[in-house]
């Protein structure tokens, strides 16, 4: 039995000295570290000398009963593997103990072979339970790694809101421009909630054709429609115990809005083509970049559904309104793509950083991420330079010194010349002036080819 070793420990709690002595002797010979306690008070004291891999606990003891003690021991060590020892007459109590989380029970006298295997199995289970706890902690840590990057006051407030709302089962509506990271926020709420060990099921309502959305959300039975060869679970069924994230919820049709409202209210639905009522325990997080209030006024979004979904709203500001978040986001994406591309993490030149911070980012964080990924492909280590950035950002390079017509003209000509690689003919075409005029302006503003 390779698992038996001195590192394993057993606590024996029994008021009968012969039972304590014989078990203690038996397990010591097996190489276990053994502790013995005659009653609940001593057992609770000995818990401080733990952790104990297995606790053998007599059900009937003077003072606090074994059942009561079991509860207290479990409060101290949730994963404690407790084996109840009982006389034949108290099997009912042993069954009760099992219901309350005991690993197993043995009746006195116990077959040595049975006891030996039981203890080994209990140790195995405790090991698995401990590993499980450890892995869950690791999962939580991993979830933190991907947490929202942002140092601006707006993002700090959002992070605080995520922490608060995650502890509840409230429906959350996330609003913000495209690319601001609404799904990331939904995931952050999910992984910080008690539902984190169940899945988060994202549904992009805008990307699924109207005809398929019902089947996608509620599932369908075999033969429900042409091509439905097999039964399929819907997203609401998949999200049982977890969270369903309805992205672009503002795009769904009025017919589907009615269905959605009913499911949100009852948590029950039937698969397309089926009769069985399915109950699912899910939390709803939805997101939209539409002006839902205007949609309600227009009559394209149901008011009752709007109030059902709009319980707790998080507004994600566009990136241009929180420029202090740009540098930390850049560094976050640099690390991410350095790992993905197996390239050394690169620095970013001050000039390139300045351009990125000044850019307005109409595509928000998604656009920023794409720009950094592209730059990582093009850049030569150790640094990302302005030339590695796409044109729309480079165009911000030369901005007029002031608002005078001459300054604006100089900056614009310089940008076009850079864009065309100082191809005078092409630049003149773009500027819609003749080449001579362009030469004159270059001379006038003292522009020089780099």
């Amino acid at each position: 039995m390779p698992e038996k070793s001195s590192q394993h420990s057993i606590l024996i709690v029994d008021d009968e000295v012969v039972v304590r002595d014989s078990l203690s002797k038996w397990f010591r010979q097996d190489g276990y570290r053994v502790g013995t306690a005659e009653d609940a008070v001593h057992a609770l004291k000995l818990m401080n000398q733990g952790p104990w891999d297995v606790i053998l606990l007599d059900i009937k003891m003077p003072g606090m009963s074994g059942l009561e003690l079991q509860k207290q021991l479990k409060e101290i060590d949730k994963s404690a593997a407790i084996i109840m020892i009982t006389a034949f007459a108290s099997v009912e109590s042993a069954v009760q103990a099992l219901k309350e989380g005991a690993f197993d029970y043995v009746t006195k006298p116990v077959d040595p072979d049975h006891l030996s295997h039981l203890v080994l199995n209990a140790i195995r289970q405790k090991k698995l339970a401990d590993e499980n706890i450890q892995l869950r902690q690791q999962i939580s840590e991993l979830a933190k790694v991907d947490e929202i990057v942002g140092e601006s006051p707006q993002m700090k407030k959002i992070i605080e809101m995520i922490r608060t709302v995650a502890q509840t089962d409230t429906t959350v509506m996330i609003r913000g421009e495209s690319g601001t990271g609404k799904e990331l926020i939904a995931r952050a709420i999910h992984v910080n909630s008690s539902r984190r060990y169940f899945p988060i099921i994202p549904v992009n309502c805008g990307a699924i054709p109207e005809t398929l959305l019902e089947s996608e959300l509620f599932g369908h039975e075999k033969g429900a429609f042409t091509g439905a060869q097999y039964r399929r679970k819907g997203k609401f069924e998949m999200a049982d115990g977890g969270t369903i994230f309805l992205d672009e919820v503002g795009t769904i049709s009025l017919k589907m809005q009615v269905e959605l409202l009913r499911v949100i209210e009852t948590k029950q639905f039937t698969r397309v083509g089926g009769n069985d009522v399915i109950t699912s325990d899910f939390r709803i997080i939805c997101a939209t970049n539409r002006d839902l209030e205007a949609a309600v006024r227009d009559g394209t979004f149901r008011e009752d559904l709007y109030y059902r979904l709009n319980v707790f709203t998080i507004f994600v500001p566009p990136l241009r309104e929180r420029r202090t978040d740009i540098p930390p986001l850049i560094h976050h994406f640099l690390r991410k793509y350095a790992m993905a591309m197996n390239k050394p993490v690169m620095e970013i030149s001050p000039e390139a950083m300045d351009l990125l911070v000044r850019y307005d980012w109409p595509g928000n964080v998604r656009e920023l991420e794409n720009v950094i990924e592209r730059a990582m492909v093009l850049a030569k280590p150790p640094c990302i330079r302005p030339d590695d950035l796409p044109f729309q950002i480079l165009s911000k390079r030369e901005t007029p010194a002031d608002d005078s017509l001459a300054s604006v003209e100089k900056a614009h000509i310089e940008n076009i010349l850079r864009r065309t690689g100082w191809n005078i003919t092409r630049a003149a075409e773009i500027l819609d002036i003749d080449r001579v005029t362009l030469y004159n302006k270059i001379a006038k503003y003292g522009l020089k080819k780099p």
Partner: protein, 187 residues
């Protein structure tokens, strides 16, 4: 150098008891003597409700015997080991039965031949097999008195056995690791 005293706890099969003297002496490298002067009647340890004998009570009686013997015999030493051998069925209160019991790192142990006998399992008697099993269990319990604990090596005689099948799988030898510990104790 310590000696091992084999104490007959009646009833016991003398032939079986005698059969383990030489192998035990050879394996431990110490004298093994049958103590015919100290027969022990186990009646006091009988439990009517279980129809078995309490091995812990018998160990306690064997300890008393040993103390008396050490006091009376000049040749006896306090490091001597006493192994009671009996053919009655043994138990410890919390377990349904035991093949034997020993004081870990102590001087006294007891072994029963009752459950080592094929006939109690409905098979034809096999004295040779019972003899082999008795030798293994005697080595095992005496090993405990030398401080050895159960060994994970399933071939080592110190491997824990809760059935005769497991006794039959292991050998009548100590593994290298247990042998090393044993030699230190015997040195």
């Amino acid at each position: 150098m310590p000696s091992v005293f084999l104490v007959p706890v009646i009833p016991v099969d003398d032939k079986l008891l005698s059969s383990v003297v030489d192998p035990l002496s050879m394996i431990f490298g110490i004298p093994v003597i049958i103590d015919n002067t100290n027969h022990l009647d186990p009646a006091f340890a009988f439990d009517f409700s279980r129809n078995q004998y309490n091995s812990t009570a018998l160990i306690a009686a064997l300890v008393t015997l040993q103390v008396r013997q050490t006091r009376s015999a000049t040749s006896a030493s306090s490091s001597d080991k006493v192994l009671g051998i009996t053919s009655v069925d043994l138990f410890v209160p919390v377990l349904t039965f035991v093949f034997g019991e020993a004081q870990l790192d102590g001087n006294t142990a007891i072994v029963s031949t009752y459950r080592l006998d094929e006939s109690i399992y409905g098979f034809p008697p096999n004295p040779r097999l019972t003899q082999e099993r008795l030798l293994k269990e005697s080595l095992h319990e005496l090993g405990h008195t030398f401080g050895l604990i159960h060994c994970p090596d399933y071939l080592c005689v110190m491997h824990s056995s809760t059935s005769v099948e497991e006794i039959d799988v292991k050998t009548a030898r100590f593994c290298l690791k247990c042998q090393e510990i044993l030699e230190k104790k015997l040195a």
